[in-house]
Amino acid sequence: MRELTYLEAVREAMSQEMRENEDVFILGEDIGVYGGAFGVTRGMIEEFGPERIRNTPISEAAISGTAVGAALTGMRPILELQFSDFMTIAMDNMVNQAAKIRYMYGGKGKVPMVLRTPAGSGTGAAAQHSQSLEAWMAHIPGLKVVQPSTAYDAKGLLKAAIDDDNPVIFYEHKLCYRTKSDVPEEAYSIPLGKADIKKEGTDVTIVATAIMVHKSLEAAEELEKEGIHVEVIDPRTLVPLDIETIVQSVKKTGRLVVVHEAVKRGGFGGEIASLIAESEAFDYLDAPIKRLGGKAVPIPYNPELEKAAVPGVSDIVTAVKETLNRL
């Protein structure tokens, strides 16, 4: 099978959907000949034209609301938000409009849209272009939240998101864009709400999202050398969340480490830890649950400070060993 980068996989998923369905179009800032801030839509305007690859003014409030209005009346818009930090400006439309319209209207009307947006630190873009704010969106009933970590997952999950009749927030981690995996050429769908076991193991369960999946797999490899067999689970979607896969894993390993890049305080890891504490897996726990997340600080510019603000491979290794009392 051929390999694609995560970025190419996102682009391929959109292109394939757009060839199949006239109602799908993309709107966003600089997504035309420029190809988008990260180059995801590069070449698409040449194939689909400016009507369907719709370059917009710098108006996140307008373009998010326009996507809602278009979705409500029969289109399936994909909104590219240049950086997930700009969600603050699109927030009203996503939280007060998109998420609530169907419910407020008593089940009439639907808002089938995808808001795709690059998230996360590691690019030196500092405090206003590096955040991981997915917990905000996961908190809102009516939204779905997707966070793929691999090219294969990105392609399949994006198709599922576009085909979904609800507003979906699709986080693309910037450091994942250049990662590669085997990606089938044909279109395929990965159902929202199905976790993936990225590595099987018996000693400790790590639940990780986005770039932390890669860091956890690196940590798992190191730990393997010391005879520690870690199971790495990527929930892939926070809403809906496949808690069952995590429960089964924890019942097997008796230990849980949750890792995300987002600030630990109020992060989604707290939700996962709580769900496990409330579940039948609680009785199987042999150690307290460990949560790893970003420090409660704006992401700094200096590269060393930036790295220190979010969990690294060694932090994950240490956390796993702590749960095993093997430090």
Partner: protein, 327 residues
Amino acid sequence: MTQKLKLPPQVKETELRELYKQMWLIRFFEEKVDEFFAKGMIHGTTHLSVGQEASAVGAIAVLEDKDKITSTHRGHGHCIAKGATVNGMMAELFGRTTGYCKGKGGSMHIADVDKGNLGANGIVGGGFAIAAGAALTSQMKKEGYVVLCFFGDGASNEGSFHEALNLASIWKLPVIFICENNQYGMSGPVKEMINIEDIADRAASYGIPGKVVDGNDVFDTMNGVSEAVERARNGEGPSIIEAKTYRSKGHSKSDAKKYRTREEEKEWLLRDPIKLMAEVMIEEGIFTQQEADQIKADAKKEVEESVEFAKNSPEPTLDALMEDIYA
């Protein structure tokens, strides 16, 4: 008073009685709602458009069935003018399953998507971009409908106003932004909140037409909106119509109206939009005083029947709580 009645091409003389009835339906519906709130028979909050009936009825009279509207928190009039039944609306305010939103939306969220009413909106300025998006669907799918976006003087100070009007103007979207300038944003007098006399003048900054109409005169309103609708339908883009009118009641149910004088209220009452319409129609020989009285009585009866309908409708069961969140 001798006046040659000029109607826009979209409105036939034979429709005027129905429009007159809509004016009374809105008035009686809202007075009934006001009464029920005062008596504690319905809960939550409500925003009444008593005194503003002409801008709702006049603007929507120009539309075809396929056209769409977005409404505001003060939206009962828009709903009725767009063809909603008072039964469904009253039942919604009573929180019953036969209401437009099955009792889940209430006064601020009545929508009738099938009839092209994309919904009232609890967020001031929330409708601008949604209207633009609905207009984008019309343009992309060549559906030929236009969207009428109602907003108030207060909403014109929201950032979403600027973003959406700029977007709609550069894309020449078939949308008409109709400002119901009722002189107050909650308690804020428009003269203290806006540094220009006419909100319609803001159109100049988007290179689109802006026109002021007498919002208490249903005929002046329909003539003004008519041109803007034609322009939008011909692919020439959006317009702003500013209907100068007056909110006879307070902002919401608990408003002592300390920020304005009773004299001012009396002055506007002399130009009551329903009275003005009746005077013109009698003078033009469209109906007699007796017929006008009959229409008024019919409207009153319809509203009274809606109360019975609402009271006799079932309350939702608790099973309904978690339904309709996702499509």
